[in-house]
């Protein structure tokens, strides 16, 4: 919209800034231009054309100045400042600045939207980067981190492999002794479950209690504030962390004092011999109490367990000598294993191998059974990084979109500058400068946002990240760099593009409204909506799948089932244990199995009759009597397993199969069918049980065989829902009576099933957060764009209103375009989202349907949001006074 006053003041400003012409003369020149315009308008020209003509006639600055200077030199002494290059440049800079500020003030809303959007994008990207950095930093604080490895053993029996993190006591010393490449080794054992720590009258349950060697501090870098590592050689001493010290001792010196600690191995007094720094959060394990292995040796009923190669209890870490390659060391392992375990392994037909895991890899890549603490997953890092980049892309696109749109509005200013002779470089610099100022403000806002959002982010990710600007110097620099880069990029478009145009084109207002640039801008909007719709679809799908998994019937009764870990100790005494327990009113039933539910990997499989030459197998779970009753698994056909069983007595042993087995093996009459291979006596089917989930719902229910056994790894106790703790105590007492010295470690079956989905749940929360953010950004961009479009059509709207168009029709007019874009985005996004989500769902054997409902919901949501955002501007325009809009010209 041409505004004479604005144009005049702009023109005036440029003349004024070179300071070659006196004010009074400038006033006169300005007055001259006004007169010319008035005259031309009277002749029938438009104000705009007249202005241009007048201004052009006055000519460029340099010519005018020359003329005036000829006259001045007699009167005005030469202004020294003129010749001072530096202060001239400063003046130029100041002028850029004032113009920038003036523009900002004039278009406050647009600027604000722009800044807010960019700031949000930058802040989110920064937080994600912080998260990723943190995840990558786990366990790197150890001085010798690149030489520390954890030992993993893989067992193979009958082509089925299993990996194991828990090793026997003699492993570590033998490694150090036999293999010169190993400088040191350390054993770590945590008695699973909490310990009760008391001092005087205070008692608390604590976790993070570990038994370890004196070499602990040689291998790991955990600074000791007081005391020395050698204290770990004595039994019944303990090294505590600073926060523990503070908790129990306040300001007193804990060293030399005693605490009483009750663990599954007994209650004893321990003397405090050292204080260690709190373990930083980015460690794959956290300790609060360290005591010597000697304590364990002194309290066990069977000390020979500590000499046996077959009693496993310890995580084992090794420290390599500097300069040695892991591969060379690993090549020596087979001989090593064969030396100590070879014979027995041959007997049980098991192949064993050791692998070394670099300590820094554990957090992101290790997901073995019995990890000390649950680990993260490298895949999530990739996904989050991609998502963060997408959000940043959306924010940047918005920023560029809005700035270029605004630049078009300032076309007249550009024309003026060109006419008064501004050089192209000046124009470029002006635009770049402005853009940088804006992105600078966005950066400041971004830092504020980061500080504000950090607590929420920590809650979401389950971490406690903090930004110490000194500690994360490189990240902060990166952020600043990114902000400036975006500013430059965004500023470059108008800078290069606009400055190239002839004033005539600017005059016609073609700039920024040309078909190419409008198409580009529309394309960007569509792109943003595609991302948003995709994210919304993703969130809905993930959430539904989760709910489905959590609510799906497992086929077995998992509530109030206590799962006790054992090492086969209770063995044949299970029935006696069971009858003892059943005396308590709280106990409903007791059984056992050799696999922990949910099962991760199977030890064995059986080949069914008729499939001898094939690979077809049924998975095997060995169970104790009363298994079906304890877990409430319905028996569909035939008989249950017998209560007492002696394997040597019969030619066959009875087994149960599940429905899936019957179906897959095509057995019309399953009773009596046998399994060939691998066990004796031959298993024969006596009954069929209903399908139940014994693994995560990611897996299909596969054919299963339940075989009776005495060797159990898990004792299953079904209890009543009331008085759980009392019941647990009773179980523990009974346990201690039957297997004294065996630790009482238990979980609940249903929480075990739930835990598998923890990762997915967190994934969903974060995904949801991202969608929300993306939508906000897209709305911001849309808002600004709609405002710009509405403004451009102010005159048109004014005319329409005067001609009698109603407000609703105007709103429709303005909104139509945008809604079309949303629809296009939906059409493009839906198939992409469908593909991506199908791929994710493939991982789950039991999954929801990707019905049209989900997509319609997401699309509808997007449409609604777009409508709400755009209509605000549309309504505002529709309700504006038409007289004012027409007066613009």
């Amino acid at each position: 919209m041409f505004n004479l006053e604005t144009a005049l003041s702009t023109w005036r400003h440029y003349f004024a800034q070179r300071r070659g012409i006196q004010k009074e003369d400038l006033d006169e020149l300005e007055r001259h231009v006004r007169d010319h315009v008035r005259y031309a308008v009277e002749q029938g020209n438009s104000e705009e054309e007249a202005f241009w003509e007048a201004v052009r006639e006055v000519g460029d600055y340099d010519g005018a100045e020359e003329e005036y200077r000829k006259v001045y030199w007699g009167k005005v002494k030469r202004n020294r400042l003129f010749n001072n290059e530096l202060s001239w440049r400063v003046a130029m800079l100041k002028s850029y600045f004032t113009i920038a500020v003036r523009n900002l003030q004039r278009q406050q809303t647009h600027a604000l939207i722009n800044i807010a959007g960019l700031a949000l994008g930058l802040a989110v990207c920064f937080l994600i980067t912080l998260f990723v950095y943190d995840e990558l930093s786990y366990d790197r604080f150890h001085e010798k981190a690149d030489r520390i490895y954890r030992v993993v053993e893989s067992y193979t029996h009958n082509d089925i492999s299993r990996q194991n993190l828990i090793h026997s006591a003699p492993l570590a010393p033998a490694l150090v002794n036999d293999l010169p490449e190993i400088e040191s080794a350390v054993r770590l054992s945590n008695r699973w479950g909490e310990v009760l720590v008391s001092r005087d009258t205070e008692a608390f349950y604590e976790d993070g209690f570990f038994f370890t060697d004196t070499s602990f501090f040689d291998v790991f870098t955990f600074p000791l504030v007081q005391g020395s590592p050698s204290s770990l050689a004595k039994p019944f001493t303990v090294i505590i962390t600073e926060s523990v010290a503070e908790k129990y001792f306040g300001d007193e010196d804990p060293v030399g004092q005693k605490v009483e600690i009750k663990g599954s191995w007994g209650t004893y007094e321990y003397e405090i011999t050292g204080i260690a720094r709190d373990v930083p959060h980015n460690s794959h394990f956290h300790f609060q109490f360290l005591t010597s292995l000697e304590t364990l040796r002194a309290t066990r009923p069977k000390p020979e367990h500590m000499e046996s190669w077959w009693y496993v209890e310890y995580y084992t870490y090794v420290l390599l000598q500097p300069g040695h390659q892991v591969e060379d060391l690993q090549a020596k392992f087979p001989a090593f294993i064969s030396k100590y375990k070879g014979e027995r392994l041959k007997q049980i037909d098991v192949h064993s191998a050791y692998e070394l895991q670099p300590i820094a890899d554990i957090h992101l890549y290790s997901h073995l059974e019995r990890e000390i603490e649950p680990n993260s997953d490298a895949r999530y890092l990739y996904i989050f990084s991609v998502l963060a980049l997408l959000i940043l892309a959306v924010a940047c696109i918005n920023y560029m979109n809005l700035s270029t749109a605004r630049s078009a509005m300032r076309a007249s200013e550009v024309g003026v500058r060109k006419v008064v002779g501004a050089h192209r470089t000046q124009l470029i610099r002006q635009f770049l400068f402005e853009s940088l100022v804006l992105s600078g403000m966005a950066l400041v806002l971004a830092f504020l946002l980061i500080a504000l959002l950090l607590p929420l982010f920590n809650h979401l990710t389950g971490k406690s990240l903090s930004v110490t600007y000194l500690g994360h110097g490189d990240l902060v620099l990166g952020l600043i760099g990114a902000g400036l880069f975006v500013g430059l990029l965004a500023g470059s478009y108008p800078a290069l593009f606009l400055s190239r145009f002839q004033p005539v084109h600017v005059l016609k207002g073609l700039l920024g409204m040309g078909p190419a640039s409008t198409l580009f801008r529309k394309g960007l909007v569509v792109f943003q909506f595609i991302i948003s719709i995709g994210l919304v679809v993703g969130t809905i799908v993930i959430q539904r799948q989760l709910t489905y998994m959590q609510n799906k019937q497992l086929g077995l009764h998992a509530e109030q089932v206590v799962v006790i870990n054992t090492h086969g100790e209770i063995g044949r005494r299970l029935p006696a244990f069971r009858s003892d327990l059943l005396k308590y009113p709280g106990i409903l039933n007791v059984s056992a199995s050799d696999q922990a539910f949910p099962v991760r990997e199977f030890v064995m499989g059986l080949r069914p009759e008729g499939f001898e030459e094939t690979d077809v197998q049924a998975k095997l779970i060995n169970v104790a009597p009363h298994f079906l009753e304890t877990l409430d698994i319905p028996l569909l056909q035939g008989d249950n397993l017998p209560e007492m069983y002696e394997p040597a007595e019969r030619e066959y042993q009875p087994v149960l199969v599940n429905e899936a087995a019957v179906k897959q093996f095509g057995w019309d009459d399953p009773i009596g069918k046998t399994f060939t291979c691998c066990v004796a006596p031959t298993p024969r089917v006596v009954g069929v049980v209903s399908d139940f989930h014994y693994q995560s719902l990611k897996e299909e229910i596969a054919p299963l065989v339940l075989m009776p056994t005495w060797w159990s790894q898990q004792v299953l106790v079904r209890i009543r829902a009331e008085n759980i703790f009392a019941t647990l105590d009773q179980i523990e007492d009974a346990w201690a009576a039957f297997v004294p010295g065996e630790p009482f470690e238990y979980t609940f079956l249903d929480s075990r099933f739930e835990q598998i989905y923890q990762a997915e749940e967190r994934f969903m929360q974060i995904f949801g957060a991202f969608s929300f953010l993306a939508i906000i950004l897209v709305c911001l961009g849309l808002f600004g764009l709609a405002a710009f479009m509405a403004e451009r059509r102010t005159k048109e709207i004014g005319i329409r209103k005067v001609l009698g168009a109603s407000a609703p029709s105007i709103v429709t007019l303005l909104s139509k375009d945008f809604l079309k874009l949303v629809l296009i985005a939906f059409v493009l996004a839906a198939p992409l989202a469908y593909l991506a989500m199908s791929r994710w769902l493939e991982d789950f054997a039991y999954r929801i349907e990707l019905g049209p409902g989900i997509f319609l919901l997401a699309g509808g949501l997007a449409l609604l949001i777009a409508l709400a955002t755009v209509s605000y501007q549309a309504v505002k325009a529709a309700l504006a006074d038409p007289v004012k809009s027409l007066r613009y010209e």
């Binding site: 003369d25 020149l29 007055r31 006004r34 007169d35 005259y39 006055v58 003329e67 005036y68 006259v71």
Partner: protein, 118 residues
């Protein structure tokens, strides 16, 4: 269009003569010249105003600001007494010069033709 030199030389006499008719402002002056020359002469602002300035320095004209009915004030010019004297001197010079040229260019070019210039 007249040659540059001619235009340059004629600015001062034309200006002084115009202002003798009455006080005028810059744009007005340009309009008048445009009319008088039948559209042949169009003075630009960057020529006119510095010249006016120069005349001000020489005290041949004086300037004063007058409010206008639309917008900011206008700067008007009028001849000073010194200016009137200068105008007379200029007139004499130009007429003498003209006479010389007329004699050189021969009959058929009489003084009466000069009546075009008022």
């Amino acid at each position: 269009m007249f040659s540059k030199n001619l235009v340059a030389a004629s600015i001062q006499p034309l200006l002084l003569s115009l202002l003798a008719e009455g006080e005028m402002y810059g744009y007005e002056i340009i309009q008048r010249i445009h009319e008088l020359s039948g559209g042949k002469m169009r003075w630009t602002a960057s020529k006119l105003y510095p010249m006016l300035h120069h005349l001000e320095n020489e005290r041949l004209v004086e300037a004063f600001w007058q409010p206008s009915e639309s917008g900011p004030d206008r700067k008007y010019y009028r001849l000073t007494a010194k200016g009137i004297k200068a105008l007379d001197a200029t007139k004499r010079d130009w007429l003498e010069l003209n006479a010389m040229l007329a004699r050189l260019w021969g009959p058929g070019y009489t003084l009466s033709d000069l009546s075009m210039v008022r």
